[in-house]
Symmetry: C2
Amino acid sequence: MTHPQIVTEQSPAEKSRLWLRYLQQQGYRITGSRRAVVDALAQAERSLTAADLYEIGRAKHKGLGLVSVYRTLEKLEELGLVQRVHGPGGCHAYISAQDGHNHMLVCENCGRVEMFEGDDLKDFTRNLEKQSGFRIHEHWLQFFGVCTECQA
Amino acid sequence: MTHPQIVTEQSPAEKSRLWLRYLQQQGYRITGSRRAVVDALAQAERSLTAADLYEIGRAKHKGLGLVSVYRTLEKLEELGLVQRVHGPGGCHAYISAQDGHNHMLVCENCGRVEMFEGDDLKDFTRNLEKQSGFRIHEHWLQFFGVCTECQA
DNA sequence: CATTATAATGAAAATGATTTTCAATATCAT
DNA sequence: ATGATATTGAAAATCATTTTCATTATAATG
Ligand SMILES: [Mn+2]
Ligand SMILES: [Mn+2]
Ligand SMILES: [Zn+2]
Ligand SMILES: [Zn+2]
């Protein structure tokens, strides 16, 4: 448990392209509204709410409706491309998901998110199962603090 | 990181009494509505939403209003007597809080919560701070699974 | 115990976020 | 280009939570 590894990202452009292709492969159509929401999420380094995305997306796609933001988020979440960020300050923001299991370090001030892995909770989980009788399926490990930019 | 310790609770009756006294000490009055909500929370071994508490509380205090449930939850949370339970299934349920820092093991099926401590994330946190540049204030470690009763 | 100041109450209205409905439009396979 | 239909945004509906407000209950005081 002493070796966190911060996960690095693809470029936003790459990410947008892959997501849109994936949406299409799943039988969804590529539209201006979806492109606007996908682009905003792919470029974001901080978590965004539906309202945030509405505002940002409107810059690219003039007529974007808030409804489409919700509908796009729903699909992206289903496909595992974005995930909700839960925290003491709220649970309604989304960020691009990583492949596989990993965890978040969240800035309490600006919402910036770093993903990391490298926790090693196998033994701890096994012991907790033994002590509690629970069958454990999943865990969350999250850290909250203030990012470098917000410290300045 | 291999020694979780499940935290044991006071009796529900004891808990109710202490909470009500504490409310009074803080200048709040003890009323039927508050007693109903406090009793329900103190007896619960699973997390409860405002709607749950409204239903349960109504059994004790016929005229209980949903508004008072919300108002009581607000105060209990302020005083650190209850805390919100966040999980993949939702973030609007409350459970009695423990003194000091600890973590939750949540049943995905019935909402039962066990508290534990004994994680040791000091080194991990320090390393994560070094790698990320964040100043870390807080962490969440939660496990989700199925409790013994729900396995049967 | 009776009086009293006021904290707390519940009903109803207001709010705010999300979802549903629906007629019009855009996408994409042909 | 055409046509089937998935997607759209506006408006309405829904749902949880909060606010308002006139009434009631609490607890301190005499
Ligand atoms: Mn992990
Ligand atoms: Mn801890
Ligand atoms: Zn920040
Ligand atoms: Zn259970």
